[in-house]
Subunit: 195 residues, 2 copies
């Protein structure tokens, strides 16, 4: 039935994600993935043109979200750009935790990808830093922006034993504090009805 065949593609993606995250991209062979879902390696290569294509397809959703964010940020400036960037980046990081871990743990391999190559990643990173720094050129602001973004990235990749709500709030306030943008605690507390 069509269900089985079209479902195989998704099941292959799910297995690949799981295995890539636990054993790494290079540490996972096509045979591993095929065995995990119970199909042949040839069948796997019928659904994906090659191994890199699997990784690309796994990371595409995150890539698109970050790409969209990048476009939206282009029109913003100052504190508005910084806060929007941080909020959105935290959201993306939490929504794609496993993909973020995959990316975080396999940066060297992802950097060699044709679509999501190192130049794309570096470009996005630089523009994100630019936004988070509020378009400031002061090294201190840009380094603070790098800490905030890198910190969110790394924290998202490390699966800490906290629920999404806690993580979102703490990542947000932490990152904004890094930037010196003390989120008027009164406003946040009342919004979240906490403390």
């Amino acid at each position: 039935m069509a269900r089985t065949s079209s479902g195989l593609h998704e099941r292959l993606l799910a297995s690949a994600l799981r295995l890539f995250v636990s054993r790494g991209f290079r540490g996972t062979s096509l045979a591993d993935i095929a065995a995990d879902v119970g199909c042949s390696k040839a069948s796997l290569l019928y659904h994906f043109s090659n191994k890199e294509a699997i990784l690309t397809e796994l990371l595409m959703p995150v890539g698109n979200e970050v790409f969209d964010l990048d476009a939206r940020l282009a029109e913003l400036d100052g504190e508005e750009a910084a806060v929007t960037a941080i909020q959105s980046f935290v959201g993306i990081t939490l929504r794609f935790r496993r993909e973020i871990k995959l990316l975080f743990d396999n940066l060297a391999d992802v950097s060699c990808l044709p679509d999501l190559g190192v130049e794309a990643i570096d470009g996005i990173r630089d523009r994100l830093i630019d936004a988070v720094a509020g378009r400031s050129t002061d090294p201190r602001d840009r380094i603070a922006a790098s800490i905030a973004l890198g910190g969110i990235f790394a924290t998202g990749a490390a699966d800490l034993p906290y629920d999404d709500r806690t993580l979102r709030e703490a990542l947000l306030t932490g990152a904004l504090r890094t930037l010196g943008l003390g989120p008027d605690r009164a406003g946040l507390d009342s919004e979240l009805g906490k403390n």
Copy 2:
């Protein structure tokens, strides 16, 4: 002369570091390293028992420093532990920038190492977070600690075009601000005669 033979070991390490950083650990073959220094692959394997041993020896200095830091922190508590941890971690990160980048880009491979395996890394990370969080168990404090440490780590790995002095100062103030330990700006500014 003995100089040549004992120097080969160091030259191999230097080449391996350079190649690992630029092409990744898995993306660099033993033949690549040997060719880079101009010796045979067999000679390379005379100096290092296997490929992993090269990576281990490259990362050992950083590992030892972090290990020492971990031991020193065990006796500290509260804000003192946090500030000491951040200061030392910034120092280590800057002193071993290339090794940090190597580690950052090849986490999946390093995690499989026998000596510096995933359990060692995770253990160190957890204890560092504990110290940076000032031994607090509040999720917000621990997540903030994770942001600070991850941010320093990621920023050190990304070779931003700033000199060590600028980076050290900005990393320090940024990370401490993340923790809510606003280094009384007046004191710092006057100390550095800035602004």
